[in-house]
Symmetry: C2
């Protein structure tokens, strides 16, 4: 089954971090061992678990530049079986610093190698860009999960993202596949949301998760408590959406 | 009055493009001459005016690398008095390409110089990052307008943004100021939105626009028609929000 999954979309605010945190937590609650890597200088996935970059001295930046082995920065979260490799603020300069280094696109892939087999799933939360951090993630991954907000600008950007995935696949990571597209922040009262859903399902067919994540304020409240929705409000529609998505992922990936 | 305004926030999906397009259109409807520069490789501000990057051969990328003068890429939009310098897809590579060039942070500033006085306002729509494109925008600008979604992750990122603005101010653009913070996608039914508003107004006081832009689906539908809300649905709460913001900007900036 696909083990290392890059959660990518250069469009901002489409639910990449919310998906990394809550899909990770949902899979852990089903007995899987999961690692979330925060590759975004905003460090939102880290604070989504109550880990604040001011309080950590070493994170994924030190790992990528080869200073620290990844095992040294991996920490437990509040969810059993769910681990985090946090981001520190020096990650902001990483894209510029990496430009003139050797094997700049392969750094994350080799850094993850020693721990890859210790987890059932490794999720990499990407920043909203197609720069060197996202390329590192796509090169390290077995598959890409694309969160997609049901809005016009988000749909428009899909072509450029697919193009970048294909570029990475042909030049850096031949095994890279699209795991799927998950529709996020879905508000059934808006006709635009239905139009986008119809268009995406028609165009990408079985690559679109059946589970649709609804717009649900509990998902946006949870990070202010440093908790995934599973620990903040397990009965909420948002949390239930990610639990259903985890179920779908497990059923699909065991499917022949 | 502040003429060149960078619309920046590294947090994704907070309403940067929607603000550039609709504040620009609102000011033009009040008789101002406005230029919107699309500095985001996603080219959303361009398509928000019905200009698609497949159809243009030269845009802001050619201007930044010094190949084409900005006058040559500026085009009319459907709103009288509102002009656009569009983005093309080669802008995606600009951040990496600029890293080793001379005066890499000053390129946009010198490119805008010949046309700066021809407009009452120049808005620069930034990508969701603090990389070289955003730094170019902050270096070219007289002031920064910060759209802020009333959510936890968006609030968390404000410190890093203010820090970057101060860095640019001290090393590249001493005249740079914060024009203000505008609260976007405000949903009065959510207590989280009110909490964020209270915190921001307490912390940043008069720097926060009195006008709050409500969450309004008409704002997200308009770009799928290639139109600003002014031409799509002028009576909508979203459009009225940006018209009120334009009024506030004009009144404030003429204030002594
Ligand atoms: N299903 C949902 N319902 C309601 N709010 C949501 C949902 N998913 C995400 N959010 C909120 O929407 C905002 C954007 O989500 P998130 O930060 O996860 O997106 P992102 O793609 O990671 O953003 P960025 O591009 O900045 O990294 C956040 O404030 C988050 O709390
Ligand atoms: N006030 C609003 N009400 C409803 N929808 C909105 C509002 N403002 C923006 N949107 C929608 O929310 C999404 C994010 O807005 P927008 O693209 O303008 O943000 P952005 O900060 O420019 O994003 P990026 O970081 O990707 O550049 C878009 O689909 C837009 O149509
Ligand atoms: Mg994120
Ligand atoms: Mg934008």
């Amino acid at each position: 089954i696909k083990r290392v999954i890059s959660i990518s979309n250069q469009k901002g605010g489409v639910g990449k971090t919310t998906t990394a945190v809550n899909l990770g937590a949902s899979l852990a609650s089903k007995g899987k061992r999961v690692l979330v890597i925060d590759l975004d200088p905003q460090a939102n996935a880290s604070s989504g678990f109550g880990v604040y970059r001011e309080n950590i001295s070493e994170g994924i930046y030190q790992v990528i530049i080869g200073q620290t082995p990844i095992q040294q920065v991996i920490q437990q979260t509040g969810v059993p079986g769910l681990f985090l490799a946090p981001a520190t603020s020096d990650l902001t300069g990483a894209e510029i610093e990496l430009v003139n280094t050797m094997a700049r696109e392969l750094r994350l892939r080799s850094a993850i190698e020693p721990v890859r087999d210790q987890f059932d799933f490794v999720f990499i939360d990407c920043p909203p860009s197609l720069g060197l951090l996202t390329v590192n993630s796509l090169t390290a991954a077995d598959a890409v999960l694309i969160p997609l907000q049901c809005e016009y600008y988000a749909l428009e950007g899909l072509g450029q993202l697919i193009h970048t995935i294909e570029l990475v696949k042909s030049s850096l990571n031949p095994g890279l596949e699209v795991l799927g597209i998950v529709l996020t922040m879905f508000d059934g009262r808006n006709s635009l949301a239905h139009q986008v859903e119809d268009e995406v399902r028609e165009h990408f067919c079985h690559k679109v998760f059946k589970t649709v994540i609804p717009r649900n304020v509990r998902l946006s409240e949870a990070p202010s408590h440093g908790l995934p929705a599973l620990l903040y409000d397990v009965a909420s529609r948002g949390c239930q959406g990610y639990l259903a998505m985890a179920e779908e992922l497990l059923t699909e990936s065991t499917a022949p």
